[in-house]
């Protein structure tokens, strides 16, 4: 009985010591975090004033600050590693085989992106119109029109769909868009060809 009580006291002591250690570690981490913010200059003026006050009044804060500041200073003074002496020469030799590539924005034409977006937009609108066309408005007992939407794949009349005026319009718009895109592409190629000839002549 007496032995059990002894064990219980020991366990309580152990837990309280462990809790104290965890508490201390959390406190240390919090202090360090705030000091790092202070060293980096990332804290607010009020926080800065509070930390300066702590550094003057509290020796634990002061010693932590000295530790972290010395690591910070050492990192700032750290020397960089250097590649071999021939490095620049090697890079320049490699580069001499290449030309600076034209900027991406010069060959990504916004009109092409707009054209593609319009294509998909027209497709979506076409599908919506088609599906709305599939709704059969039935009158119910109260006299109100209730939409009866039925779409069964095996009952779909494909020939009706393809002869549908809406679908023809849809295909027509997409064809026109396609032709516009093709025209833009061909014009771009023509322009590039001309500027190439011009720059060749100019450099000569």
């Amino acid at each position: 009985m007496r032995y059990g009580k002894y064990i219980r006291i020991k366990i309580e002591q152990y837990h309280s010591t462990e809790q104290l250690l965890i508490k201390r570690k959390v406190m240390d981490q919090d202090i360090e975090h705030r000091i790092w913010e202070f060293i980096d200059g990332h804290c607010s003026p009020s926080e800065k004033a509070a930390i300066i006050q702590n550094l003057t009044d509290n020796p634990i804060w002061k010693s932590k600050y000295d530790e972290l500041k010395s690591i910070h200073d050492m990192l700032q003074k750290e020397e960089l590693d250097m590649p071999s002496l021939r490095f620049t020469k090697n890079v320049m030799e490699e580069i001499s085989r290449y030309q600076v590539a034209p900027a991406t924005k010069n060959y990504i034409n916004k009109n092409v992106i707009r054209g593609i977006s319009s294509f998909f937009l027209v497709m979506i609108i076409g599908l919506i119109i088609y599906f709305v066309g599939q709704i059969h408005w039935n009158g119910n007992s109260t006299g109100n029109l209730v939409p009866a939407f039925t779409l069964e794949a095996d009952k779909l009349n494909w020939s009706k769909m393809l002869n549908n005026t809406y679908v023809n319009i849809f295909i027509g718009i997409n064809t026109i868009l396609g032709l516009i895109l093709l025209d833009k592409y061909m014009q771009g190629r023509k322009k590039d060809g001309r500027s190439g000839e011009w720059s060749k002549g100019d450099s000569a």
């Binding site: 972290l68 010395s70 700032q76 750290e78 590693d81 490095f87 890079v91 600076v100």
Partner: protein, 196 residues
């Protein structure tokens, strides 16, 4: 940065106008930063030099795409990071930052290798370098970009594709881990540094 008198923008404009030799100034200016950054990933000087060379060639070829809305160094470090990661993927090496399980094993082996050379490590620079090499590449990279690369938290965020607040937390943790490593393996030297 203006070391040789010309700003990065001036050199870039000259290069874009066709003066290829002007680019050599940018290579001279940033080679140590890029090389150190890559060395933290590869731990192998030959590979690091090969990747660094590739980085400068890529930067040259896509120089027209540099819009100047960030520092040239930030843009260059972004290329360094992506080139480095793709190089490591190609070589099927362990990319610690992408594989936490392997990170532990690799760092352990680095620590044991370090123990063997402990006696040789005398200077503070060597000590710091050793301690940094025991960190994960991501931790080492954050420290490098912040202290050596002259990058702000926002710029590091751009390079590593992270939110600036996440970078802040990463930086704090990296310094904490560095401090722990130094106190664990260089307790004597660290006590000297603290007492200075």
């Amino acid at each position: 940065m203006t070391i040789t008198g010309h700003s990065d923008e001036e050199i870039i404009n000259r290069t874009l106008k066709g003066d290829q030799s002007a680019f050599a100034q940018l290579v001279e200016r940033y080679q140590n930063y890029v090389f150190t950054l890559i060395l933290r990933f590869t731990d192998n000087r030959e590979d690091a030099e090969e990747i660094a060379q590739d980085v400068f060639v890529k930067a040259y070829r896509s120089l027209a795409d540099f819009r100047g809305d960030s520092k040239f160094s930030t843009w260059l470090f972004t290329i360094s990071r992506t080139t480095c990661l793709s190089f490591l993927r190609k070589k099927k090496l362990d990319i610690q930052s992408l594989d936490n399980e392997r990170t532990g094993l690799q760092l352990e082996s680095r620590e044991s290798a370090f123990h063997a050379n402990l006696v040789e490590q005398k200077s503070r620079h060597a000590m710091l370098n050793q301690a940094i090499s025991m960190l994960s590449p991501d931790d080492a990279q954050v420290l490098n970009l912040f202290y050596k690369g002259d990058q702000t938290l926002e710029e590091i965020g751009k390079i590593m594709r992270l939110d600036p607040n996440t970078v802040k937390v990463k930086l704090h943790r990296a310094r904490q881990r560095l401090k722990d490593k130094m106190e664990k393996y260089f307790s004597h030297e660290v006590r000297e540094i603290y007492s200075d």
